[in-house]
Amino acid sequence: MDWLFLDAAFTGGSRDECSAKAGGACWAVIGERLNLFTYGFYPVAERWRVNLSLVLLIFTLFPILFEKAPYRKYALHIAVAFPFVTAWLLVGGLGLTPVETDQFGGFMLTLVIGITGIGFSLPIGILLALGRQSKLPAIQIFSIGFIEFIRGVPLITLLFVASTMLNYFLPPGVTFDLLLRVLIMVTLFASAYMAEVIRGGLQAIPKGQFEAADSMGLRYWSAMRLIVLPQAMKISIPGIVNTFIGLYKDTTLVIIIGLLDPLGIGRASLADTRWTGLSTEVYLFVAIFFFISCFGMARYSQHLENKLETDHKR
């Protein structure tokens, strides 16, 4: 505690200035680099676009996450536009100054990768899980093959393929944005895990429910949408959130292919000769950020479980 707050220096231009002031932690390094930790190398003049995206994110997530939010019905429709608007805001073009995606970094990069992965892996995962149980052999084989292949390969390998191998296969001159490649790989990876989590939920639904749906004359998609999936998803909530959290933390692996997420920014900052040796402070700061986001997700999942509790817990 003394080291953390009482004895700590909060201002200063270098580690030496810090240690001249106080014997504890040197938080000045975080203060000086807060912008770098938040926006990475995003051009200073365009940072309002990142801020605006964050505001939009909050406005989109709120009605999705909380049933009591006002105007929820309309908000959900508007939410569909969110990915496109944000992508436009962040990357630019169409009237905005284009920003190369290699300027992305820090918390912003984590959020972009994490939210894209989370947002797309759930629907893809559901389709894969249904596909795996499908009676059509082609769909079933594709789903099983996809899931088992992706699960059988470490994420790092996929990221390496995304970062280096693809360029060898593509014709010369054709470049394919690195961040986009990473987003696709991370999403595919998370989808495979998601599919298995949801399959677990599907298999826990008693056969009677399927038969009941059939006897109501419901077609496949209606039966799934109205009867099977709501129950299956409820059962899978802990597993789903588990996968989300895992995915979110896995975003730090992008450091290996040279994208600077908060951990990468932290490591790079330690290489600044003015701040070398402050690893405890930097890593603690990054850890706090990840803890807050992950703990938040865990708490929300608990809230959701309680809300959906229908009293036939076994």
């Binding site: 770098l36 390496f160 280096t164 360029n167 010369p172 290996i256 040279g258 000769t273 040796g277």
Partner: protein
């Protein structure tokens, strides 16, 4: 009887094989045509590749930015500053090339890379040039198809040890426990050195520099060995740097330099002569402050005039502006200034020039003349 059967069989086989031979020739003719066509297509594709590669200079000019591969964080050589820019010794070489080609040292996109991905990124075209504290070796030059630029930092492997142990030379290290990063040339050099000097040692593998520091600080090992420049930054990061010494022995050669892809000699030439120009500027005493003034009109030193573009057409020959060297120097200063700014005695790394002094001062820096 048996023999006859065998003969018969043999005859039959011959018949078949001669028939096969004819068919085979026919087949070869058809396939041969296809193979030639195939090769022709490949050749066309290849020529496209070469064409695309041959124009790195044009690509960079069209883009208006130089993509430069640097380390994602190495003290003194490359690290992001608080304002979203990059600083460091390697970074300044990128800026110098950008200034020579595009007229401004700010027209650089820094592409951070790790030890593992740097060459793949360069070969895949994600960067035009690489300045990443990279040792020039035969296998990297030939097998990985890189063209190395002149050496910009002569490094070598050294030893870091606690002062209190009273060791003053690496030859007294018999029986010591040594931390070394696994899978590096450093590890091999270490084994060679102790074998050659007939000393025993206990060797502790670590994954990264940071891990090594923790091992060394917690006294799991007596000695830490890696490149001397990295040792200097490690020492600067320790709690009481003065309690630790770097032993005088340097046990390996690590010539660090920039690199470009094979297959574009014009671009390689530009990289090479920018590095040379920074070294020559120091020899001639051309500094960042003075360069604009000196370049205003031709002086009485023909060599300096050629350098400054007030005489001759050196820039044109390179395919650059005639003020290419002036632009490079006014962006980052000469070699000596770059060194002082990021690695020299006034920085926390406190590295001496040593081998990296100009040949006039007893070092190894000796650039071919610009004429």
């Amino acid at each position: 009887m048996e023999n006859m059967v065998v003969l018969h069989k043999r005859g039959g086989r011959n018949l078949i094989s001669s028939l096969n031979l004819r068919r085979f020739i026919l087949l070869k003719k058809i396939v041969g045509m296809r193979v030639t066509k195939f090769l022709a297509i490949i050749a066309v594709l290849f020529s496209f590749t070469v064409m695309a590669d041959a124009g790195t200079l044009e690509d960079v000019k069209a883009r208006g930015k130089l993509n430069c591969i640097v380390s994602s964080g190495l003290a003194g050589f490359a690290s992001p500053d608080g304002k979203g820019g990059w600083q460091g010794f390697d970074v300044d070489f990128c800026r110098a090339v950008a200034a020579a080609v595009l007229g401004s040292g700010d027209k650089v996109n820094f592409v951070p890379s790790t030890n593992r991905t740097r060459f793949a990124q360069l070969n895949a075209g994600e960067g035009d040039i690489l300045f990443r504290n990279t040792t020039e070796t035969l296998s990297r030059d030939v097998d990985l198809k890189l063209t190395f630029l002149p050496v910009n930092y002569y490094d070598g492997q050294g030893f870091l040890i606690r002062r209190s142990l009273g060791v003053t030379s690496a030859t007294q290290l018999a029986g010591a426990s040594v931390c070394v990063q696994v899978g590096t040339t450093t590890e091999l050099n270490l084994a060679d050195y102790f074998r050659f000097n007939k000393m025993e040692y206990e060797h502790l593998n670590t994954g990264t520099n940071a891990e090594s520091i923790i091992m060394y600080e917690s006294r799991r090992c007596d000695v830490y060995t890696t490149d001397a420049s990295a040792l200097a930054s490690t020492r600067a990061a320790l709690k009481n740097p003065s309690e630790h010494v770097i032993l005088p022995e340097i046990i390996s050669k690590e010539p660090l330099g920039g690199a470009v892809r094979h297959g574009d000699d014009r671009w390689a030439d530009i990289g090479k002569w920018v590095v040379n120009a920074l070294i020559i500027a120091e020899e001639m005493g051309i500094t960042q402050k003075k360069v604009k003034e000196l370049a205003k009109k031709p002086g009485n030193n023909p060599g300096m005039n050629r350098f400054l573009g007030t005489e001759g057409n050196m820039g044109e020959m390179l395919g650059l502006d005639k003020k290419w060297a002036v632009n490079a120097i006014s962006a980052v200063g000469n070699y000596g200034e770059i060194f002082e700014r990021h690695l020299g005695p006034k920085t926390p790394l406190a590295l001496e020039r040593g081998l990296n002094a100009s040949w006039k001062a007893g070092g190894l820096l000796y650039a071919a003349p610009i004429r």
